[in-house]
Amino acid sequence: MPAILTADGVGKSYGSGSARMPIIDGLTLSIAKGEFVSLVGPSGCGKTTLLMCLSGLLAPSDGAVSFKGQVVDQPPIGLSVVFQDYSRSLLPWKTNLDNVLFGMRRVQGMDARAKRARAEEILAAVGLTGFGGHYPWQVSGGMQQRVAIARGIASQSELLLLDEPLAAVDAQTRADMQDLLLDVAQRFKQTCVLVTHDVEEAVYMANRVLVLGPRPTRVVREVVVDLPMPRDQLTTREAPGFLHARHEVLALIRGMRQGQKLS
C-alpha cells in the first residue's frame, strides 16, 4: 500500500529564545492508504499540535509533512481534522446540514442539489436522519460529534485526523460511536488517524498503534494489531491479539509514567 501521509523529521516548538518550548522533535511516521492508525501518548505530550502540523494548519519548525506525495504547506483538499473541541468547531449560525455543506465548499463537479443529497446521505450514515435542519446547539454532544465527523467525510476527504473524538461521551455511547466510526470509515473509504487517551480504544479501532513519547514527543514504538476487520465489541476485546497489543501499549505507557516520576 502506498503512503497517503508521511511526516519526515518533523519538529515543532512554541515561543522563541529562552521561552522556546520544543513540543515535537524529529517525529517520523508514515500512514498507508486505507489504514486505521491510533496515536496514544501521555497527556500534554503534543498530540493536538502534531495533528495541526500534519493537517497544514500549523507550519512545522523542522522537517516536512507530505500528503499524497505533495508537501503540505496549507490544509490540502482531501484531508480533514475532527477537532478535539468539536462543539466549538461547528458553526452555531449554521444548521447541521449547512455545517456539512460548509465542509463541501471545495468539492468540485457537484451542483448545489447533488451536494445537498450527498450531505444528507452522509448525515444519514452517521445516524442523523431528520436532524439536518437542527442547529448544533439543539442536539446532544454525541450528535454534534457525529455532525463534525459527517462534515469531515463530506469534504471529499480521504484522510480523517480525529483528535480524541469520543473523549466526552459516556461509555455505552462510546462503544456505539467506535463501531459507527469504523463502519463509516470503511463505507466512505477513509484512512483514519485517531488520537485517543484510551488504550483499549486505540487497539480496538486500529490496524496499528503508534505510541508517542513524553514532550518533546516522537514515535517511540509501533504496535501492529493483528486482528481482522470488522471488529466486534465482545469477541475482539477477548481475542489474544487484542490482549497482546493492549499489554504492549500499556506497559510502554506505564514505563513512561515511571520514568517521569523518577526524573
Binding site: M52, S55, L57, Q74, P75, I77, S80, V81, F83, D85, R88, S89, L91, P92, W93, F102, G103, R105, R106, Y135, W137, Q138, S155
Partner: protein, 259 residues
C-alpha cells in the same frame, strides 16, 4: 384564569394606569405649580392640537429620520473601523486612542464646533450624531472580532477559506450578535444626539419644538413632545430588534433555549 395570568395579560394597561395615576395625584396635590406640572388632560389636549395642525408629525418625521440615518451611518462606520482594526494592529491602536479621547465628549459639546465648520443643516446632524454614536458598534465589534475562537478559525482554514473568507464567513457571523448589542446602545445615543443638536442648532424637529415651546412656557406641549421622544426610542429599538432577529436570530434562540 388565575390572578397571575390576568396580571400578565394586563401588564401594559396596569403599568400605564399606575404611571398616569401617580402623575394625576402629584398634579392634584399641588406640590408643583400647575404652570410647570400640567394635568394629563391638558397634556393630551395640547398634543392632540399639535397633531391636528400637522406640525408635530412633520417634526416627528424629521427627528426620527435623522436618528435613523445617523444610526445606520454610525453602525456602518463603526463596523468598518472594527474590521480595519482587526486587519491591522497599527490602525487598531490609532483608533483606540481617538475613541478614548472622543468618546467621553457629550453631543452638546460638539455642536458649536460643528456649527462653525459645517453651518446649520444636514451635515451638522450627520457629524454630531455619527461622532457620538459610532463608539458602541466599533468597540463591541473590535472585542467580538478578536474574540472569535481559534477552533472556528482553524475549521474555516481547513475547508480552504482565505483570510478574506475567514473574515466574511467566520469572524463576522460570529461577531454579529455582540455587534448588535452595540447597535442597540447606539440607537439610544443617536436619539439623544439628534434632540440635543436640534435644540442647540436646529430650525425644525422635535428638539427644536421642545425648545421653542419651553421658552413660551407652553408646558403641556413640552410634556407631550417629551412623550413623543420616548416613543421614538421605543420605535427605533423595535426596528433594531427586528433587524437583529432577522440577522442573528440563531443567537437569540440559542440563548433562550432551556438547558
Amino acid at each position: 384564569m388565575t390572578a397571575a395570568v390576568v396580571a400578565e395579560r394586563l401588564r401594559v394597561p396596569i403599568c400605564a394606569a399606575l404611571v398616569l395615576g401617580t402623575w394625576q395625584i402629584v398634579f392634584l396635590s399641588g406640590v408643583v405649580p400647575e404652570k410647570y406640572f400640567p394635568s394629563i388632560l391638558s397634556i393630551a389636549t395640547a398634543f392632540w392640537q399639535m397633531l391636528a395642525d400637522g406640525s408635530v408629525l412633520t417634526a416627528w418625521a424629521q427627528t426620527f429620520g435623522r436618528a435613523l440615518i445617523g444610526l445606520v451611518g454610525a453602525a456602518a462606520l463603526g463596523i468598518t473601523l472594527a474590521i480595519l482594526s482587526d486587519l491591522s494592529p497599527v490602525l487598531s491602536r490609532g483608533f483606540r486612542y481617538v475613541s478614548d479621547v472622543l468618546q467621553p465628549i457629550p453631543p452638546a459639546a460638539f455642536v458649536p464646533m460643528a456649527v462653525f465648520m459645517l453651518g446649520l443643516g444636514a451635515k451638522l446632524y450627520a457629524f454630531v450624531i455619527i461622532l457620538v454614536t459610532v463608539w458602541p458598534p466599533y468597540l463591541n465589534g473590535v472585542a467580538a472580532l478578536s474574540g472569535v475562537g481559534a477552533v472556528q478559525l482553524n475549521t474555516g482554514r481547513m475547508f480552504g477559506l482565505s483570510n478574506w473568507g475567514l473574515l466574511w464567513r467566520i469572524k463576522l457571523p460570529a461577531a454579529l450578535p455582540e455587534i448588535f448589542t452595540g447597535i442597540r446602545y447606539a440607537a439610544t445615543i443617536s436619539l439623544i444626539a439628534v434632540i440635543v443638536s436640534e435644540m442647540l442648532a436646529g430650525r425644525d424637529g422635535i428638539g427644536f419644538m421642545i425648545f421653542k415651546k419651553a421658552f413660551a412656557l407652553r408646558t403641556p406641549e413640552v410634556f407631550g413632545l417629551m412623550f413623543l421622544v420616548g416613543l421614538n426610542g421605543v420605535l427605533l429599538n423595535g426596528l433594531v430588534n427586528l433587524l437583529r432577529r432577522a440577522v442573528t436570530g440563531w443567537h437569540l434562540r440559542m440563548m433562550e433555549r432551556p438547558e
